[in-house]
C-alpha cells in the first residue's frame, strides 16, 4: 500500500465517505481514515449518521409508529387485534441489522471505487500530511496532495447532567435502551430530543421534555412550530419550555432532575434521562499546531464558501464547519470539494437546504421562515393548505398539519415552504427542486399534480398564495 495519496479524507461519515467516493470517481487516488471500530475491532464506516444518528433513529421511529398504529388506530379501520406488545430486543436487533447493511454497503462502495480505508485517528500536519494513530497506538504518516477534514460532531455535554451511559445518556445511549423506560426525561426540545422522545413515548414511556428556550422550535416557521407543538401535545409529549436544568442526581436506580423556571425551582424523577441539548464540532486533537488550519471561536474549522481552510490544499466539510449540521449538507460539501480538487468549478447552494424532523407527522422546511422575511423587510405573500382538506390524507387517517408556501409579493418567486404533516420530508423536496429552478408560486400552481396524492397539498398551498386554492375557502386578498 502506498502511503502517498492525491486525497486523504479524515472521517467516513456522510461528508467524508461521499467526498472519498466522489474523489475516487474523478480519478484521484483516495484514502479515507476512520477511527471508529465495531466490537470485533473492524473499521466502522458511515459516521454518526449511519451508526448512531439518522438511520438508527429512523428505524426506531418507524417501528414505534407501527406500534402506535396497531395499538390506537387499527380499530378505526375495523381491524381487530389484541393489544400489541413490543419486543424491544427485536426492535433493536432490526435496527442493528439495517445499520450493518448500510455500513457494509459503504465498505463495498469504497472497494468498488478504489478508495483505501485506513483504520486510525487522523491528525492534520503541515505539508499537508496526515498522521494516523491506529487502535494499537501505532503511528504512521500519509503524504497527501489534498486533505479533506470530515471529522464530524459529538453530543454537547452539560455540567448539571453528566452522562453515565446508564441512567443519563446522550442520543447514542437513547438508541439502545433495553426496555421501555417508565418515565423518561429529555433535556432539549430540538430535532434529536423530539425524535427520541417520540420513539420511547410511543412505546409507552411517560415523556417530559425540558427546553431552556421560551420558544418552541425557533428555527422553524412560527406558525408551523405552533401547529407542531399542538400535535405533539395531543400525542402525549409533555414539552416544558423556559426550563433550565440545574442538576441531575442518580439514586436507587432513578434520576432526580432539578430545574428552574420563571416561577421557581422544580423537581422530576425519571427512570432515564436523555441529554439532547446540541452537538459540537469534533475538532480537538485534529490539527497539529503548524497545520495552518484555524478554528473559529466555537471550535468549528474556519473555511470559505468553498470549504477551503486557510492552509493550502486542506479542506473541511460537514458538521466540523459552519452551517446546518445535516447529513445532506455535509455530503454536498464533500462532492463540491472533491470536484474542486479535480479542477471543476463546483459550488453549492446554501440557501436551499431542506431540514426535517422525523416525528409523526413530520416537520419539514426549506428557505426563509415568515419571521425571517419580516425581519429582513421582504414583502411576501403566504398560502396555507391544511391536510384535513386533502382527500388522500383523510383516506389514510393522517390529516394533522398543513403546508405553508411563502412567495415574494412582487416577483412571485418562492421564498420558503414549511410543512407539518404526513410525508412532509418528501413534500418539501418538491419545493426544494422548484426553488432550485427559481420557480414562482404560479409555476407550481400551473403544474399538474396527481390525484389523490399528498403532493396536492403543495399544489393547493401554491394556489393559495394568490388566493386561488380550490379546496379551501381562500382568505380575501387586499386590492
Amino acid at each position: 500500500m502506498s502511503d502517498k495519496f492525491d486525497v486523504v479524507v479524515i472521517g467516513s461519515g456522510p461528508a467524508g465517505y461521499v467526498a472519498a467516493i466522489k474523489a475516487a470517481q474523478l480519478g484521484l487516488n483516495t484514502a479515507c481514515v476512520e477511527q471508529w471500530l465495531d466490537d470485533k475491532g473492524a473499521v466502522k464506516l458511515g459516521g454518526t449518521c449511519l451508526n448512531v444518528g439518522c438511520i438508527p433513529s429512523k428505524a426506531l421511529l418507524d417501528t414505534s409508529h407501527k406500534y402506535v398504529e396497531a395499538r390506537d388506530h387499527f380499530a378505526e379501520h375495523g381491524i381487530k387485534v389484541k393489544a400489541p406488545a413490543i419486543d424491544v430486543g427485536a426492535m433493536l436487533k432490526r435496527k442493528d441489522k439495517i445499520v450493518g447493511q448500510l455500513t457494509g454497503g459503504i465498505a463495498g462502495l469504497f472497494k468498488h471505487n478504489g478508495v483505501t480505508p485506513i483504520e486510525g485517528r487522523g491528525k492534520v500536519l503541515s505539508g499537508p500530511r496526515v498522521e494516523v494513530t491506529n487502535s494499537k497506538g501505532e503511528t504512521s504518516v500519509l503524504e497527501a496532495s489534498n486533505v479533506i477534514i470530515a471529522a464530524g460532531s459529538v453530543p454537547v455535554e452539560i455540567p448539571p447532567a453528566p452522562i453515565d451511559n446508564e441512567y443519563i445518556v446522550d442520543s447514542t445511549g437513547a438508541l439502545e435502551f433495553s426496555e421501555v423506560p417508565g418515565r423518561l426525561g429529555v433535556i432539549g426540545a430540538g430535532v434529536i430530543g423530539l425524535e427520541l422522545g417520540s420513539v420511547w413515548g410511543r412505546l409507552g414511556s411517560e415523556v417530559v421534555v425540558l427546553e431552556a428556550l421560551d420558544e418552541f422550535l425557533p428555527m422553524m416557521d412560527v406558525q408551523i412550530a405552533k401547529e407542531a407543538g399542538k400535535i405533539f401535545k395531543k400525542q402525549g409529549l409533555d414539552i416544558r419550555l423556559g426550563t433550565r436544568v440545574t442538576g441531575a442526581e442518580v439514586k436507587d436506580g432513578k434520576v432526580t432532575v432539578t430545574y428552574a423556571t420563571s416561577d421557581g425551582d422544580h423537581q422530576e424523577v425519571f427512570d432515564k434521562l436523555i441529554v439532547a441539548v446540541g452537538r459540537r464540532p469534533r475538532s480537538e486533537e485534529l490539527l497539529a499546531s503548524d497545520s495552518g488550519v484555524s478554528l473559529d471561536e466555537r471550535g468549528f474549522i474556519y473555511v470559505d464558501d468553498y470549504c477551503a481552510t486557510e492552509a493550502p490544499h486542506v479542506y473541511a466539510v460537514g458538521d466540523v464547519v459552519r452551517g446546518p449540521m445535516l447529513a445532506h449538507k455535509g455530503s454536498e460539501e464533500g462532492v463540491m470539494v472533491a470536484e474542486r480538487i479535480a479542477g471543476k468549478p463546483a459550488q453549492m447552494n446554501y440557501d436551499v437546504i431542506p431540514s426535517v424532523i422525523y416525528t409523526h407527522p413530520e416537520v419539514a422546511a426549506v428557505g426563509k421562515t415568515e419571521q425571517q422575511l419580516k425581519s429582513e423587510g421582504v414583502e411576501y405573500k403566504s398560502g396555507v393548505f391544511p391536510f384535513v382538506a386533502s382527500g388522500r390524507a383523510l383516506a389514510s387517517g393522517d390529516s394533522d398539519g398543513m403546508v405553508k408556501m411563502l412567495a415574494d409579493t412582487e416577483t412571485d418567486r418562492i421564498l420558503g415552504c414549511h410543512i407539518v404533516g404526513p410525508s412532509a420530508a418528501d413534500l418539501v423536496q418538491q419545493v426544494v427542486i422548484a426553488m432550485e429552478f427559481g420557480s414562482s408560486a404560479e409555476d407550481l400552481a400551473l403544474t399538474v399534480f396527481g390525484h389523490p396524492t399528498l403532493s396536492e397539498a403543495v399544489h393547493e398551498a401554491a394556489l393559495a398564495v394568490d388566493g386561488h386554492a380550490i379546496h379551501i375557502a381562500n382568505r380575501k386578498k387586499r386590492k
Binding site: T411, R413, E436, F437, G438, S439, S440, D443, A445, L446
Partner: protein, 47 residues
C-alpha cells in the same frame, strides 16, 4: 429554443413576447417568471 417554466410560458403567451429576446437567469439560462416580469417592465410596449 428558450426553456421556460409554466408561469413564464403563460406570461410570454399572454403578452405575445419573443422569448429569444428575454434574458434567462434561471439554471442553465432558463427563463423564470421573474425574468419575464422584468422584461415587461423594461421593454417598451408594442404599439
Amino acid at each position: 429554443e428558450a426553456v421556460m417554466g409554466p408561469a413564464a410560458r403563460q406570461l410570454v403567451e399572454e403578452h405575445k413576447l419573443d422569448a429569444t429576446k428575454i434574458e434567462g437567469t434561471g439554471k442553465g439560462g432558463r427563463i423564470t417568471k421573474e425574468d419575464v416580469l422584468k422584461h415587461l417592465k423594461e421593454a417598451p410596449k408594442p404599439s
